[in-house]
Symmetry: C3
Subunit: 203 residues, 3 copies
């Protein structure tokens, strides 16, 4: 129950990030809603396409669609206020990332993917929606450039895969993985951690 | 029979829009043909990947491939003449959109997708090819910015889903959905309808 | 055995091309590794998604993942030296293309795709990774613009499909197809062959 609420919050936050980016790119209201939907549901759709779940769960879950669509419309109308909530949005985004990655990894393992494949698919579940958002808006995906985002996702996925391999209780494993992702992201934001860039390039 | 001819016309028009965009981006002849193929077949391929139809129908239908490929070559050689046919192309594009969306929605329902998922998949079948075209050419997809394009597609898909849910004859339902999409698109073009953009952005 | 070594070399070369492009786009080390993985494995993942192989073979093969990931890290640290190996990289890229295309075509035929679908899927297996790399880095895919790249891939795929249709031994067919791709690419690079661009455009 709490998990469902958190999951819908994650969907809403991802949808809001897509809608905000679309508003800034001056898309019309339908473009904004489409970006909200693809950002919120894109990671899960990629996960299901890779795992052979047809049609993708996200498209079959009307609460997901409803929350993502309504969030898009709300952001379209109230975007200056949403943009002010930057800190809360980053916090919720970390929560969403944690839930999506651990959920994606667990699903992949349950469907028989080997552990390293499950980790990659779990990571993709978390970062895929944002990557699609940036591609549609003609940006180099932020996840490839931003402070410790993909690596936080991968670390959480690895924790889940190791935990399930060791036979620990699934709920505990998922909770640990998600908490770790959230913690890494918050510390990275707080300390402005960034991964190194290659040396030897001019400029 | 008439439906098959219309469908191939739709394929040809979508292929021509991809090929024209590729010619303008100065791709070579192979790039032009690849853009023609991906624009014409992209929506159907995305539909089949989401629904688990392997390999995608479009890749198994040689008339589709032939029409799309030949259209690409024709546009490569005669593109100044094709560009002059702008009005006819927009009309045929509306017809293609109508057929692709209603076909995609019907297929999704037939394969057991719930109605709202079928609507989204049907919409994606119609707008997916153009989105892939724009992504490959590094444009923000036109469908996210253009007059009432995605919403016409969605409206037609909803009509089909409602009609089939009500148990109306499938042919009638598809015809109504497609006609509605074509009508909305033509009126939007004629009246230069555009969806609203968010307020409060400078410039 | 030799084939496995060549295949891993192909993976490494494709990974290096993704990593080099990522270094130039100033991605951080994780972005570089992700680009290495997606470029090396992207074509195979697209092939498996189209053919319904779940989860994709590339994600289940740890040697592929290991080679691609390590190559990404090596390029990140030693990129000025790798960039100097341009000729060797182009040669190995031709070998990788030949192996990926013939492997993709053979797999598609084995899974029951009709010959023309198998050719398109085989071609996509070879050129898909590079296309994903360029899309993520916001470039028009090089394959749409570069000397005789897609057409070399397609020609090799057609040879494989014709050979298997004629009932020739599979090993011989694959070898012939791959050799042809490698030969076309090397001659195209040596003679600076390029496909024609449409006339009648200013500039």
């Amino acid at each position: 129950m709490l998990l469902n609420v958190l999951e819908l919050l994650g969907i809403a936050v991802f949808a809001a990030s897509g809608a905000l980016a679309a508003v800034r790119a001056k898309l019309d209201v339908f473009g904004v809603v489409i970006l909200a939907l693809t950002t919120a549901l894109g990671g899960g759709i990629i996960r299901d396409v890779l795992l052979g779940v047809h049609p993708p769960t996200s498209l079959r879950s009307w609460p997901y669609l409803l929350v993502a669509g309504v969030t898009g419309i709300v952001v379209f109308w109230f975007h200056p206020h949403v943009a002010k909530l930057r800190r809360s949005v980053l916090l919720l985004d970390a929560v969403g990332l944690g839930l999506f990655v651990t959920g994606g990894t667990t699903t992949a393992l349950a469907l028989g993917a080997p552990p390293y494949a499950a980790c990659l698919i779990g990571m993709t579940t978390g970062i895929g929606g944002g990557a699609v958002r940036d591609l549609l808006l003609r940006e180099i995906p932020l996840v490839l450039r931003r402070e410790i985002y993909a690596v936080a996702a991968l670390a959480g996925a690895v924790v889940v895969a190791l935990g399930e391999w060791a036979g620990l209780p699934k709920g505990l494993v998922a909770l640990t993985g998600a908490s770790m992702i959230i913690a890494i992201r918050l510390v990275a934001l707080w300390r402005k951690w960034n991964a190194p860039v290659a040396r030897g390039l001019d400029g």
